[in-house]
């Protein structure tokens, strides 16, 4: 469902950046269309931050090129910087300033005139729900509110492109949900790149995902396709009170179960059950345990961690090669 016109806002071509001998990113290429929210997924040190720093003109690439709104990030850096809103990983704030003073300063150095600044500061304070804290010193705000101030400065000057480096890290779960909704609402008029290492976050917010690992693109796809591709198997962890050997065989006999491993012995045993993708055996297991008269103490479907996803991706990739 590509409703917005597909005008490329961010074009990255064979981008490579070396720190000394060590390549942080290698031959990265991708395009983001106007109004799209692109998820940038990868474990720590995958090259997410480096890519973003190159895109924002903070550092030049070793080779390759990147364009934002048609402007080259190296040769037309100032034009690029006029068009982007950027939230770095460590939220850059002047802790001794008040929220409004800080936003006003950020507006000034982005060339916003006084009226525009006044109007937008009120707007972003509303959007980011900072109303009560508008004249508080930033240093006195909690981590979650600082994050909101960071987002407020990024969207203040109504930039065409938003680059957000792990915007939901380190804030409490309620604020995470709010922040995600906020970002979701910003898509459409803004083009957004969002980096994260939380998989569900990407599927909730983004229309398209790029997974990078060790500086290289491992996969580019829509989140739903990606999870389909990734779900080779699923895991369920259960704690069952009952005779270990019998429990093991009974669990193995459930259709769809591929592997059962016992992780903890004793009266109550913990079992890790690997099932075929989409099998959804939770109900099955609980009925079985009930019928046999054992005790079911815990049943927990395990979401695949990013590391496992990378593992599965790299494995499938080398298998097909």
């Amino acid at each position: 469902m590509q409703d917005t016109t597909s005008i490329p806002m961010i074009e990255v071509n064979n981008l490579t950046k070396y720190y000394g001998e060590y390549p942080a990113i290698e031959n990265l290429s991708f395009t983001v269309n106007k109004g799209e929210i692109l998820g940038f997924l990868g474990p720590n040190a995958a090259g997410k931050t480096t890519t973003m720093r190159v895109l924002t003109g903070f550092m030049p690439p070793t080779s390759g090129s990147a364009k934002i709104a048609g402007f080259d990030v190296v040769d037309q850096s100032l034009e690029v910087r006029r068009r982007i809103g950027y939230l770095p990983e460590t939220v850059p704030l002047y802790t001794e300033m008040s929220v409004t003073d800080y936003l006003d300063f950020m507006g000034q150095i982005r060339g916003m005139d006084k009226q525009w600044r006044r109007r937008r500061i009120d707007e972003v304070i509303g959007i980011c729900r900072l109303g009560e804290y508008r004249s508080s010193l930033i240093g006195k705000l909690s981590k979650g509110f600082r994050q909101r101030v960071g987002i407020a400065q990024a969207i203040l000057h109504e930039p065409e492109v938003l680059i957000l480096d792990e915007p939901t890290i380190g804030i409490d779960p309620i604020q995470v949900v709010e922040t995600r909704n906020l970002i979701k609402g910003l898509g459409g008029e803004h083009t957004i790149i969002l980096s994260t290492h939380i998989l569900p976050e990407v599927s909730m917010v983004c229309k398209r995902v790029i997974i990078i690992h060790e500086g290289q693109v491992v996969a580019v796809d829509k989140p739903e396709n990606l999870s389909g591709r990734l779900r080779g198997s699923e895991h369920i962890e259960v704690d069952i009170r009952g005779p270990a050997a019998q429990v093991m065989t009974a669990l193995r006999d459930i259709p769809g179960v591929q592997e059962v491993t016992r992780t903890d012995s004793g009266d109550v045993g913990s079992y890790d059950i690997e099932t075929a993708s989409g099998a959804d055996l939770g109900e099955h297991i609980s009925t079985l345990v009930h019928q046999r008269g054992w005790g079911l103490l815990r049943l927990q479907p395990i979401q695949m961690s990013l590391e496992e996803i990378f593992l599965s991706l790299t494995v499938t990739e080398s298998d097909s090669a």
Partner: protein, 237 residues
């Protein structure tokens, strides 16, 4: 230009909100008053402010780095430099803005000492020419000292490192002329010309020598140029 002024204004506000501004001001006012009183308490006192202008050079080599140490080092440490450098602001505008703010802080140090000049005019009839030129010289000296401080602040994310480095450079530059008697030939003249304190002498005598003015202007420009370069080099690391 607008960006420069925005940055300068922001830094000036931050400086005067912090207790540091008033501590430094009090320290300088106290020391200046002390040197002033001792200089006019002699048997044949002169109605001049020389008594505190010369010691001020030494005081400034210690205070200027404290004024400037925050300016770029803290931006690096807090990550706000990344924000500044990804805003549509040129690197030299950042440096110039910071420098202007540092100048404002330095000028604020001199304000309380006007009281000493007023005292002088109440009890004697001082020659105002040398007093004004001495102040002008001190401002130029301070400008050079701040530029060294700003450069040092661009090199490190640690304020203490920045301050100590700047103090070291300034101390060497202000005592280098003492080696003139040991150096021979062209070097005698060279060390005298390099020293940032020797160029203040004619100002205190009441002479505004363009050669000294140019020295301070070139020195400051060069240090600010190095600061811009140092900031730019962060992009390439």
């Amino acid at each position: 230009m607008k960006n420069t002024l925005s940055i300068a204004w922001k830094e000036t506000r931050t400086y005067f909100v912090s207790p540091m501004a008033y501590i430094i001001m009090a320290v300088y006012a106290g020391l200046a008053a002390y040197y002033f009183v001792t200089s006019i308490s002699g048997v044949l006192p002169e109605a001049t402010i020389r008594g505190y202008i010369f010691p001020s050079t030494f005081i400034f080599t210690l205070l200027a780095p404290i004024i400037t140490m925050r300016l770029l080092a803290e931006e690096q440490k807090m990550g706000t430099l990344e924000l500044l450098m990804t805003s549509p602001v040129r690197d030299y505008e950042i440096v110039l803005g910071k420098f202007l703010a540092a100048m404002a802080s330095l000028l604020s140090l001199l304000v309380p000492t006007v009281y000493l000049v007023i005292l002088l005019t109440l009890f004697a009839t001082p020659d105002m020419g040398p007093i004004l030129s001495a102040y002008l010289g001190l401002v130029f000296f301070g400008m050079a000292a701040l530029s060294v401080g700003l450069f040092a602040s661009s090199l490190s994310g640690n304020q203490i490192v920045a301050a100590v480095l700047a103090m070291g450079i300034l101390l060497i530059l202000s005592i280098v002329d003492l080696t003139s008697s040991y150096a021979g030939g062209i070097f005698t003249e060279l060390v005298l010309q390099i020293s940032i304190t020797t160029h203040l002498e004619s100002f205190v005598r009441g002479v505004i020598d363009t050669h000294d003015l140019i020295y301070y202007v070139i020195f400051t420009t060069f240090m600010l140029f190095l600061t811009v370069r140092s900031l730019e080099s962060r992009r390439w690391r």
